[in-house]
Each structure stands twice: as C-alpha cells, then as structure tokens.
C-alpha cells in the first residue's frame, strides 16, 4: 500500500461524548472494510488540526477508538473534503479502509474504555494549530475487523472546557497495508 491523506474542511467542531455514538458529520473516521482480510493493518502517521473559530474556543480534540463500530456504508465524501493517495497513481492499488464523516446506518460509538488509547490533540481553535507526527514505530495502529481496533475517530470531546465553537480544518495521513 501507500500513504494517503484524509482531509476535511468545516466538519470538525461539534462536541461528542465518550461512550456515545458520535453525531454525524462532526468527526473524521477511518474504518477497516469488512471485505478485507482480518490481517489488514493501518498506521496513522500524522494528524494536523488548524482552528477556524472566529472567537476564542477550546477544542478538546482526541483521536480515539470506537467501542462499537459504525454500520452501513460510509457516505461518499463531498468536496472540499477528500481522501486520496500521496502517490498520484495510487487509485489502482485500492484501499482497504473507509474514510468518512458519516455512515448510512449508525455512527461509531467513541470508546470510553480506560484500556483504549486516546491521543490528546487539544488546542485553542481561534487561530491555533496542532500537529502530531508519530515517532518511528510509535504510529497509531488499527487492525482487524472488530471493535475497537478496526475503527478510529477524530473529534471534539466533551469535558475539560471543550467548546462546540472550536471549529477546525484537519488532515490525517495514514497508510493501510
């Protein structure tokens, strides 16, 4: 496989609660496709959020796992959102992952388990920027076809002063293989 970039504009901001299904079109989601082999893996290599709020708003952003997978097909991304390969000819390789901001039937439940990893990406979305780039061998990994390893969600999480007005544009660089 090769590296891909999943990018959104004016999607992130709305608050979601740990342990509850996310509200559609307020999150960025990567889900392993059920048709893939259970041995499929995915590495998330970089997350960047650039705030677009028009006043001071705290974004309590986290990259989290899904304790219950979303169901139904991922709604096709509409411009300006996108998901494509860094290699221009990558489309011929296929992609074992669905990158979406909403799903046809149910949305992912954001894991509240203390044993599931969460990556803290909090920042002030009024002019703020946060970028996390994984150290070698320390990439965020997804694996298999079942929760919680098969789906990860980036969204603004309620708590700690997080505010719904903390809107942001974002990209996720990832590599399925």
């Amino acid at each position: 496989m090769a590296k891909r970039v999943f990018s959104t504009q004016a999607v992130l901001g709305g608050l979601n609660t740990l342990g509850s299904a996310a509200t559609l079109a307020t999150f960025m989601d990567l889900r392993m496709n059920a048709s893939q082999a259970t041995a499929a893996l995915l590495d998330i290599l970089e997350v960047l959020l650039s705030g677009t709020a028009s006043a001071s708003n705290i974004g309590g952003y986290f990259l989290t796992r899904a304790s219950t997978l979303s169901t139904g097909a991922g709604t096709a991304l509409a411009s300006p959102n996108s998901d494509g390969g860094e290699l221009p000819s990558i489309s011929a390789l296929g992609n074992p992952v669905t990158a979406a901001i909403q799903f046809a039937t149910t949305q992912p439940t954001i894991s509240s388990a203390t044993t599931d990893a969460k990556l803290n990406l909090g920042f002030n979305a009024f002019g703020g920027i946060i970028r996390w780039n994984a150290a070698p061998t320390q990439q965020w990994q997804m694996a298999g076809l079942t929760a919680s390893g098969a789906e990860s969600v980036l969204s603004n999480i309620t708590g700690g002063g997080a505010q719904a007005g903390a809107t942001a544009n974002a990209h996720i660089i990832y590599e399925p293989y």
Binding site: N120, N124, G127, I130, R131, A135
Partner: protein, 125 residues
C-alpha cells in the same frame, strides 16, 4: 553507512498559539501541556518518544530540567516509570520485542505490569 542519532527515534507534537489566545493555565494543565508554552502567542515544539520497555508513547516536556533515563542495553530513551522499576530487586531486562517474541511462542504467559512484566511458563495446558 546509516547514522542513527538519539533524535532518530523522535516524533513531534507542535502546538501553535502564536495567533491565538491559547490555553489558560488551568486548561493547559487539564490537557497535560506545560502552561508556559501553550498560552497566548506561544508555540510549543515537543519531541515524542516511545519507551522500548513498556511501549508507552511520551510527550517530552520541554520545560523539564531533570535528566531523562537512558537504557544502555536498548541504547534508547526509557520512560520514568520504567526507569524507577529497573532499580527494583528481581528486575529482568526485557524490551517489547523480546516480550512479544516470547509470548508468540505460546509457551509463556505474562503477568505484572508492562513496566515490570513477569513471564511465567504455561503449564498443564
């Protein structure tokens, strides 16, 4: 010849509030950032490293003055918890790769914590 520096293992966390009100000290502490570096007009660049002993992922606080631990056997940074544990009696040095290889044989099971794993032979199965 490939030259590896200590920083070859670094990742990066960048929080840029140069054009933003940033976090109040209370908000910074809640999110685990040093308040001095994420306030109004501040930019924080912090390396991130993985601990080869326990597998955790650590954001290195740029404001820290105390030295960080280094494992000479792994020739890598290790986290504070693993640094403390390695001075306890009965400690056996094993990194994540060694533990994974042992567990993959199916002959061992792991007890204890990730920083101080206790590998016990499987019996009666």
């Amino acid at each position: 010849m490939t030259v590896f520096l200590k920083t070859s293992h670094d990742g990066e966390l960048m929080v840029d509030h140069r054009a933003s009100p940033g976090f109040t000290p209370e908000q910074a502490r809640y999110f685990g950032f040093p308040p001095e570096l994420v306030g109004e007009g501040k930019q924080m660049h912090a390396p991130t490293l993985g601990c080869p002993h326990c597998g955790s992922h650590v954001v290195l606080n740029p404001m820290r003055k105390r030295p960080r631990a280094h494992c000479l056997q792994c020739n890598q940074y290790i986290c504070d918890i693993c640094d403390q544990v390695r001075s306890e009696s009965g400690y056996v040095h094993r990194n994540m790769k060694e533990i994974r290889d042992l567990l993959a044989t199916g002959k061992w099971q792991m007890r204890g914590t990730m920083s101080k794993p206790v590998l016990v032979p499987k019996t009666g199965e």
